[in-house]
């Protein structure tokens, strides 16, 4: 059992080549904050990138920030905020979901997991904001893909396939991301008392309208709250708020800047809503399917809807007889088991099972980066 903590790209190369020569696979880690998801990695050695944590370059006017993978996402967000910018895909702080400390997650882990937050519905996901990267493949070779400019179609778009690959393709050593301006003000319209079906209808109607919505979520409770977030200058926000409220034909309140921001942070993180020992699913589907799916999953302990209904976070007791994936049949949706006891993940796939021809293609793509299967073997399951 060795824990390798390289400080340079050359040291990453050495570590990967040594692992390849010895046929000893590696678990790839940032801070380890997302270790709670996925199947156990079949590796005795770990390669931890926490010492490669620099913010290499940030030119605000270029809208580009380049960082090392071990940089903490919270630190990068704070750095960008100093220039009035942000990561527009709103990376959620999921570490507490698995019992970790808030703010622990790294940019490398964020990119590898590919999980964006509430603003994904307006701004796109992590895959839409990674401009380029440098990494070490399973052959121990340093390679780059993409670039450090906003508009680029030179060569294959490998940044897309790295986003959400859970460290199974290559070891990241540098990542360039889009940094976008922060709005002067934000706030949220809140409707209370809607059931999920009415909430999805209301959010859908709002998202079809002329007022740009940057968050649309439904939080069941007493009373249930349905939120629509606006962002812009104070003057524009006031106009948009009035127009949106008038169009909804439903009574609404207004959550001001700080209150709104705090609540959206909780929605992204999910943890504040979830019972302590519950199993947690993340379901992505066409928004209009959400009410029917929730009706089929009536035995669950709780849920919240984000992305206008296209994202359901669902939780239930580990011993509950609930078949989430069966409830998604013919909806075009898929479910990831974000948190569960080991005895459950031993028999239930964490990641959505793929049709065999697609799984075969994925295996070939994986082998094209890491032919010997050195990186995170077992993490994605069977």
């Amino acid at each position: 059992m060795a824990l390798l903590r390289p400080q340079t790209v050359d040291q990453v190369v050495d570590a990967v080549r040594a692992a390849g020569a010895a046929s000893r696979p590696l678990e790839i880690l940032g801070s380890g904050s997302r270790r709670g998801i996925g199947h156990p990695v079949q590796a005795e050695d770990a390669l931890c990138l926490d010492r490669m944590a620099a913010i290499i370059d940030h030119d605000a006017a270029e809208l580009v920030v380049t960082v090392q993978p071990g940089a903490r996402t919270a630190d990068v967000i704070a750095h960008l905020a100093g220039s009035g910018q942000r990561l527009a895909f709103e990376p959620p702080d999921l570490a507490p979901l698995w019992g970790g400390a808030a703010g622990a997650g790294t940019i490398g882990g964020m990119f590898a997991a590919g999980i964006a937050g509430p603003r994904r519905l307006a701004a796109g996901g992590i895959r839409d904001h990674v401009l380029g990267f440098q990494a070490v493949n399973g052959l121990g070779e340093v390679f780059v893909a993409g670039g450090k400019v906003l508009k680029n179609v030179t060569g294959y778009d490998l940044p897309k396939v790295m986003a959400g690959s859970w460290g199974t393709l290559a070891v990241l050593t540098e990542i360039s991301l889009k940094a976008l301006p922060m709005p002067e003000a934000t706030g949220s319209l809140v409707m209370t008392g809607l059931d999920p079906a009415a909430a999805v209808t209301m959010m859908t109607r709002a998202l079809q309208g002329a007022v740009p919505i940057t968050g649309a979520a439904h939080l069941p409770g007493q009373p249930a709250r349905t939120l629509l977030r606006l962002e812009g200058t104070p003057r524009v926000l006031a106009v948009q708020r009035a127009a949106l409220a008038a169009g909804l034909q439903w009574e609404s309140d207004w959550l001001d800047d700080a209150e709104s921001q705090a609540l959206w942070q909780e929605i992204g993180a999910v943890r504040p809503f979830v019972a302590d020992d519950a199993m947690v699913w993340r379901i992505v589907l066409p928004a209009t399917q959400a009410p029917a799916v929730l009706a089929r999953l009536g035995g669950a302990d709780g849920h919240l809807l984000d992305w206008g209904g296209a994202l359901i976070w669902l939780w239930h007791a580990a011993d509950a007889a609930i078949d989430v994936r069966a409830a998604l049949a013919a909806t075009g949706g898929h479910a990831t088991l974000m948190r569960a006891p080991a005895e459950v993940t031993a028999r239930v796939p964490v990641f959505p099972p793929l049709p065999p021809p697609l799984a075969a293609l994925e295996a070939r793509v994986r082998a094209s980066f890491d032919p010997a299967g050195l990186f995170n073997p077992g993490r994605l399951g069977g």
Binding site: D59, A61, E62, L63, G84, R120, G124, G125, D128, E141, F143, A145, G147, K148, L150, K151, N152, V153, T154, Y156, D157, L158, K160, V161, A163, G164, L169, L180, P181, M182, P183, T204, L207, Q208, G209, G232, T233, R235, V236, V239, V284, L285, P286, A287, T288, G332, G333, H334, T336, F351, P352, L354, P357, L358, L361, E362, R364, V365, S368, F369
Partner: protein, 494 residues
């Protein structure tokens, strides 16, 4: 520019190949040489090649059957949408077939509640917006050839447009595809849900220039059309000042829907052609367009005007009414044909640079061209640093074309040297293939080629594109236009 040596045995067996394909796609095989001629090139007209045959399937099953057969027989396949590629992406091969997707021309489903549309790949980009316009929606990416180019080609090239600064390129507006692999396997990647499970192969396929599979169905995101749009003309006494102004506008938190710059030669050519009302006493002209609510637009235009004045702008004129907004754009969109009127030939280059390098790179472009005795007119998608220098030359003068190509190569090399890339939106194709080693190491390119092999191990899909062959001399690339005649002279080029 050399393509891989054709396989003479395949060429000799042409009749048998045509016969086999005709059994798979009855009534859908073109083999008469005269009828093949229209397929001999795309919008990069400097390069032409007749294919063995053109197959025009109607169904996914036919595509699967054709690809599976070609896979077994070792026949190369070049997929083709509308043939508007500026980089030779659909240039045929002498020993390969062209798979024309023009018959896949139907809009299959529009789902306004989930804000997506399912269309066949031969549907034009503009037709998607037209199909959803009645409900106030549109499809955001707007390449200049949008009235002709197909969505399947847009997916292959990750097409952009003037509004991608705010709305992204094709890849950011693509939700799913049905794709057929070279062995005939039919797969679905993504769909109406905003994310798909597994690796993001949809993102990998988009922009892969027809080398990973053939797309037979496309699901795109549609957006509610912004209620208002307004453009502003901003004139500067120096191009560098315009470049710095772009950085200041974006640095202060405004992302306009579009942000374009033209230099003096381009302004004068466009104004003489279109009478757009452009000022002729400025060195650079910026067009900034805002969209959204009226207050949002007016606030942003006021801030932009203040910033522009600080950078020495001598003119800030917002459009008054929709007719004037369209007139402002008419000049910009006619810049390419306008330049074609003042020079016998021009050569369009496509590279992206960090925006802060706009001033220095522009100076360098002028020097590079002057060293060869040529002039350049510049138009930029300044917001995202995407340059389109138009190198003016005269093909009737011996050596002039070669000079223009040298200038184009050096400009693209300069883009890479300052931290930019070889192509922002036109694709690599055959055009920039031999410059790829300027941007990527052999290791980088080998990694990409292994990914290609995971999809197409025999390299039968669009071979000879994107990746440089060994020991091939670097030859330049861009769109060549003679006498103002592009392949699609009536299409705006920007």
């Amino acid at each position: 520019m050399r393509m891989p040596d054709p396989d003479q045995a395949l060429i000799a067996g042409r009749d048998a190949i045509v016969g086999a394909l005709a059994r798979l796609v009855p009534g859908g095989v073109v083999s008469d040489r005269a009828a093949l001629a229209p397929y001999s090139c795309d919008a990069l007209t400097a390069y032409r090649q007749l294919p063995l045959a053109v197959v025009l399937p109607r169904t996914t099953e036919e595509v699967s059957a054709v690809l599976g057969w070609c896979h077994g027989a070792g026949v190369k396949v070049v997929a083709r949408g509308a043939g508007t590629s500026l980089s030779g992406g659909s240039l045929p091969l002498a020993d390969g077939i062209v798979l024309g997707m023009a018959r896949f021309n139907r809009v299959l489903d529009i789902d306004y509640d989930n804000r997506c549309a399912v269309v066949q790949p031969g549907v034009t980009n503009a037709a998607i917006s037209e199909a959803v316009a009645g409900r106030g929606f549109y499809y955001a990416p707007d390449p200049s050839s949008q009235i002709a180019c197909s969505i399947g080609g847009n997916v292959a090239e990750n097409a952009g447009g003037v509004h991608c600064l705010k709305y992204g390129t094709t890849t950011n507006n693509l939700l799913g595809v049905e794709i057929v692999l070279i062995d005939g396997t039919i797969l679905r990647l993504g769909g109406a849900a905003p994310e798909a499970p597994g690796y993001d192969l949809l993102g990998l396929v988009c922009g892969s220039e027809g080398m990973l599979g053939v797309v037979t169905e496309v699901t795109v995101r549609i957006l509610p059309r912004p209620p208002h749009q307004r453009a502003m003309l901003i004139g500067f006494p120096a191009v560098e000042a315009a470049g710095e102004c772009v950085a200041s506008i974006i640095g202060c938190g405004i992302i306009p829907a579009a942000l374009e710059i033209m230099d003096r030669p381009a302004i004068h050519a466009a104004e003489a052609f279109v009478n757009a009302g452009y000022p002729l006493d400025v060195e650079a002209l910026m067009i900034a367009e805002l969209d959204g609510g009226i207050e949002e637009i007016d606030d942003a235009l006021a801030i932009i005007a203040t910033i522009a004045t600080r950078h020495g702008a001598t003119l800030c004129r917002p459009s008054e009414g929709e007719a004037e907004r369209l007139l402002f754009w008419a000049g910009r969109k006619a810049a390419f044909p306008a330049v074609g009127r003042v020079s016998p030939d021009y050569y369009c280059v496509d590279g992206t640079i960090p925006r802060r390098m706009l001033g220095p790179v522009l100076g360098r472009i002028t020097e590079i061209a002057a060293a060869e005795g040529l002039a350049v007119a510049n138009v930029f998608h300044a917001g995202d640093g995407n340059l389109h220098p138009l190198i003016l030359y005269d093909a009737s003068i011996p050596g002039d074309l070669e000079k223009a190509e040298r200038v184009g190569n050096r400009i693209l090399e300069t883009c890479v040297e300052v931290g930019g890339v070889l192509t922002g939106e036109h694709g690599v194709g055959i055009e920039k293939r031999d410059l790829m080693h300027k941007q990527f190491t052999p290791v980088d390119l080998a990694q990409q080629q292994r990914v290609k092999a995971a999809f197409d191990p025999q390299a039968l899909l669009n071979p000879g594109k994107v990746f440089p062959a060994l020991s091939r001399c670097a030859e330049g690339g861009a769109e060549h236009v003679h006498g103002g005649q592009t392949r699609f002279p009536d299409l705006p080029r920007f």
